[in-house]
């Protein structure tokens, strides 16, 4: 899938999570997403960035603007080298949390995105990729 623009941002602090949301907003507006879709992908990004920070021990996000014919999309990949997720299905279950959260972030991010992909290896790290198309 042709990628027209790529940007990589660090996720090391709580302020970085704010910056990730701002960058995703800029990209979402840039590909012409409407207000509802903007809000969806920004919120999903916020969830995943915070997981990268809180559970993955920090990492980074890669923002790809994609063009497929006349269709434009935004793909976000959150990567960390943290402890990984031993049971992905369980982590995706609503209300499951190991950190005193609401346990709705991963599942919510999935529901808020057009595409959702998660790879995680215990002891190696986690990569969550989402995409939203116009």
């Amino acid at each position: 899938m042709p990628v027209t623009t790529t940007e990589v941002l660090p996720i090391r602090t709580s302020d970085d999570v704010v910056r990730v949301r701002q960058a995703v907003r800029v990209r979402a507006v840039g590909i012409g997403l409407g207000l509802v879709d903007q809000t969806k992908i920004i919120t999903a990004a916020s969830e995943l960035a915070r997981n990268t920070l809180d559970y993955g021990g920090g990492g980074e996000v890669r923002l790809d603007v994609m063009q497929e014919g006349a269709r434009r999309g935004l793909r976000l990949s959150f990567v960390d080298q943290g402890p990984g997720i031993p049971d992905i299905a369980r982590a995706l279950t609503d209300h499951y949390t190991t950190g005193g959260g609401l346990g709705l972030g991963l599942g919510g991010a999935k529901r808020l995105s057009n595409e959702f992909h998660i790879e995680s290896t215990p002891g190696v790290g986690t990569r969550v990729t989402i995409a939203r198309w116009k």
Binding site: V18, V36, T39, I42, E47, L104, G108, R111
Partner: protein, 292 residues
Amino acid sequence: MAVDGTAALTQTVAAEEAGIRAAWLALLKAGGSLQTGRIREAELDTQARTVLEQLRDGLAAAGTDVRADAYAALRDTLSEISRSRAIQGFTPTDTANFVFSLKEPVFAAIDRTHGGDPAAATGGTWAASHLLDALGLHTMEVFLAGREEVIGRQGQEIAELSTPVVRLWDGILALPLIGTLDSARTGVVMENLLQAIVDEEAEIAIIDITGVPTVDTLVAQHLLKAIAAARLMGADCIVSGIRPQIAQTMVHLGVELNVVSKSTLADAFALALKRTGRIVTRRQSALSPTAS
């Protein structure tokens, strides 16, 4: 006697300092440096005086090498001016012009002191140009760095804006939340709300989230905790300002606040008044025609 350009400039600035300053200030004022009221006349005078004195000292000690230690004081002064101007909202052009507009008075002064010696005058002018360009660029760089600092701090302020609890009526409080809620301040904001509920013996607390750009599960968790704690203290919460796109996103997240919500703070206030047994009606105007 042959005079080189740097020497000509050094002599000129030392001998003509007062004249240069007067002409420079006139140019700055004509250029609108004072117009916007962002800077006082006395402040501008002091800045011009300091810059020229330090320029004179720098020239005497190190010629036109602005990176030399002898120029450290001038560089600092310009940095300070530049930074404060960035904060005062001047444009980069305004700030660079502060230095560049010194050229004309200096050139004129060189003409006065070395007019009879064309080689020295040309050399002096060239040295002045070179020196002031270097100083102008330094100012620009600091200005840009200052700008970034301002932007960075604005981000910080938005993230950490303290949110006051507003007493709308006897027993009715409002907490208008603005900015991101995932900073450490959120805890403080919620504590303030609970304290105010106790102090005011509030029956109803309106949490307005119109100014919250993103409601994710962390924000929702903060809200849920505040609502639960308020309830324990005997106050009911109303959440207002949930924009439609945020309501939709909350549904996808699976978050439920389980409180009454109103689209605006005004609607929430009206409901709060009603719930506490009050009605608001428009007063019948004495002048309005009465139906007969």
